[in-house]
């Protein structure tokens, strides 16, 4: 099994007719993802390399049975695309768009929660979600991940996630699902949402969590791990040397008013019983050790 997406997930790509959406949408299809439709209000009826284009996500859903949306359109229009996908009844919406204004993102989060509680938004400003060998929605290079589990990964950072996938693959360790929740202040899907899903997934036996400075996602995750997660968790938090008050690349990576430091997050995770690594390499090694332990028990 996997979480959020699997081999039955049918994906519609918003803006498949051009730009980033076309590039990544076609890559996802090449990986084996069921990319069944594209959306472009001005190009309904056309096709992109055999993938039919519809004017709206709702039409695409009716015609193709799509249940997931991939949104890679510019920041000005991305929130509207996410709502369009939710309105069409999509179960999962992956939004990789960077640079959405915080006020728009806060309203978007609230609107989804109130009016479309059945829709899960992953992102914005994230690499997407991949269940290796089954489904890849987003910008992760599928070939760097090994399918099959037993590790589930959840992360706020793109490149560090790729590195984790790659290092695990080098050691012959597979991944059930890898979720990039994104580097923005108000992510649609939280660490806790992913931890809960991994805890309930029988194929996931260990969880890797990659956090960074800013906000309280890691602290919330620690609280949840302490009370609700029975599976071993290996965590890494980036930004120990980040100065306060400065945005470190991601809109959400900022220590403000002394809160959101890497030290505080690591302490919370250690107190919750997670194994906390000092660097990404160590995180990979720790996970390898955990997986060896799991295999020894089987």
């Amino acid at each position: 099994m996997s979480i959020f997406v699997d081999e039955s997930t049918r994906v519609v790509v918003h803006g498949l007719t051009g730009g980033q959406a076309r590039f990544h949408g076609l890559r996802n299809r090449d990986y084996g993802t069921k990319v069944v439709a594209g959306v472009n209000p001005a190009k309904g009826g056309q096709d992109v390399e055999g993938i039919p284009i519809f004017a709206t996500a709702a039409e695409a859903r009716v015609a193709t049975g799509a249940d997931a949306s991939f949104v890679a359109v510019p920041a000005k229009v991305a929130p509207a695309s996410v709502i369009e996908a939710a309105l069409a009844g999509m179960r999962v919406v992956v939004c990789i768009t960077e640079g959405i204004p915080a006020q728009d993102e806060a309203r978007l989060y609230s609107e989804l929660r109130h009016n479309y509680p059945a829709t899960r938004l992953i992102g914005p400003n994230c690499p997407g979600v991949i269940s290796p060998g089954r489904c890849n929605i987003g910008i992760t290079a599928g070939e760097i991940a090994l399918a099959g589990g037993p590790v589930g990964i959840v992360s706020r950072s793109g490149t560090l996630t790729y590195q984790a996938l790659y290092e695990l693959k080098q050691m012959g360790i597979g991944v059930t699902t890898c979720v990039g929740i994104g580097g923005d202040p108000v992510p649609g899907t939280s660490f806790v949402d992913c931890l809960a899903a991994f805890e309930g997934d029988p194929e996931t036996l260990a969880i890797m969590l990659i956090g960074e400075i800013g906000g309280s996602e890691e602290e919330n995750a620690a609280e949840f791990i302490a009370s609700r997660v029975s599976k071993p968790v290996v965590a890494y938090v980036a930004g120990v040397t980040a100065p306060p008050g400065r945005r470190m690349g991601h809109a959400g990576a900022i220590i403000s008013g002394g809160r959101g430091t890497a030290q505080a997050k690591m302490e919370a995770l250690v107190a919750a019983g997670a194994r906390v690594a000092g660097n990404p390499t160590e995180a990979g090694e720790m996970m390898a050790e955990v997986v060896r332990g799991l295999k020894a028990c089987l």
Binding site: A106, A141, G278
Partner: protein, 381 residues
């Protein structure tokens, strides 16, 4: 982007928040001229983006022209918390009965707007929160619902404001409108003053604008370039790089914000100090790499450079070609340690091998490369 007090007040005023009459001055003569037109008494206020201006003597009252001139002369050029005062805000000093506190921000944990109002303004609100938490009213506002008629009344009552609640509620509603429609990350007014005449107005303003929303606020250009950036950061900004200057000696270039932060951390972990954070993003082509090397190469405190690239969709051989082309264009002053891993790392390392020398060294692992870069920078110095 953080605004100066005078910019913040002008921004608040656009949304109907009352502010005392005032104007900016860059010289004592200008300050005196402004004061004459405003009428006395006036407050002469240093414009720096740092707290503790009052205690540092950066805010002074004047009751005639000669006092304004003397205060302006004393404050201009003064250094407050590392910031040099280059501009003054001269405003009419009104008679104050009470000082309140009001702020609006996004609470990331609640994923909602957070309003904080207190009857104990004019002092550090964190201290009030610690010593007298009951004096602070906190209210979450659903961004979809917004600020309605009862929100302000509730806040004013809960905070125990001794004024006409309907009146102060209207001002709070305008502050909220500035926060949302004005695309601010933070609107903080401390103090929000109640004059002896019964008017409520913003006596100070701390406004942080959301850079992501700049595309729909062409008027923000008038706020000028952000302050508090050093020369390296300004140069990097011009080149469109995600750069933050730090005070160490190991220059950092990495792809992805998380990896760039992590690279700074591991340099620190093995006994060195990062000179900067620099995320070159996804497509690491020769142009971006050359621009990055140029910025870091021109930093006199840099003793070695650590290029840490993990290829995902970006293939390592493309990055390697970029690095080689960039090295050709930028005369490197300090040794470069390159770690390439991920997609097509072997091909990438082969390309780098062609330019390897005492000054360009390849190292396959992140930790190994970090140790080498720190050693070349002279260790923990």
């Amino acid at each position: 982007m953080d605004l100066f007090e005078y910019q913040g007040k002008e921004y608040l005023a656009r949304f109907g928040v009352p502010i005392p009459p005032g104007g900016v001055a860059d010289t004592p003569d200008e300050a005196a001229e402004k004061a004459e037109s405003l009428g006395y008494p006036v407050a002469v206020k240093a414009q720096v983006q740092v707290g503790g201006r009052g205690k540092a003597g950066g805010i002074r009252l004047a009751s005639d022209t000669s006092e304004v001139f003397a205060h302006a002369e004393a404050i201009l050029g003064m250094t407050i918390g590392g910031h040099t005062v280059r501009r003054l805000w001269v405003e009419r000093a009104l008679s104050i009965a009470r000082e309140y506190y009001a702020s609006f921000t996004l609470d990331r944990t609640a994923k909602a707007h957070l309003a904080i109002v207190s009857a104990r303004g004019g002092v550090d609100i964190e201290e009030v929160a610690a010593s007298d938490p009951g004096a602070i009213a906190r209210l979450y506002i659903d961004p979809l619902v917004g600020f309605n008629d009862t929100t302000g009344l509730q806040l004013a009552a809960q905070a125990g404001l001794e004024t006409d609640h309907v009146h102060v509620s209207a001002v709070l509603a305008r502050l909220y409108r500035c926060f949302t429609q004005g695309d601010a990350d933070l609107v903080e007014v401390n103090p929000l003053a109640l004059s002896t005449a019964g008017a409520v107005f913003a006596l100070d303003a701390k406004v942080t604008l959301d850079d992501n929303a700049a595309f729909r606020h062409p008027e923000w250009v008038e706020f000028g370039r952000p302050v508090g950036l050093d020369d390296r950061e300004l140069r990097a900004r011009e080149l469109g790089l995600q750069y933050v200057g730090l005070d160490g000696s190991v220059g950092i270039i990495a792809n992805g914000a998380g990896l760039a932060m992590s690279t700074c951390d591991v340099v620190n972990q093995v006994g060195g100090k990062p000179a900067n954070f620099l995320d070159i993003g996804g497509g690491a082509n020769a142009e971006v790499m050359a621009a990055s090397l140029e910025v870091i190469n021109s930093d006199a405190s840099v003793r070695s450079i650590f290029v840490n690239i993990f290829g995902g969709i970006t293939r390592c051989e493309e990055v390697a070609n970029g690095i080689v082309a960039a090295i050709d264009r930028v005369g490197m002053k300090v040794p470069l340690v390159i770690r390439l891993d991920g997609t097509n790392a072997r091909e990438g390392r082969e390309i780098v091998k062609r330019v390897e020398s005492e000054m360009v060294i390849s190292s396959p692992s992140m930790m190994g490369a970090a140790r080498l870069a720190v050693e070349l920078a002279g260790g923990g110095r």
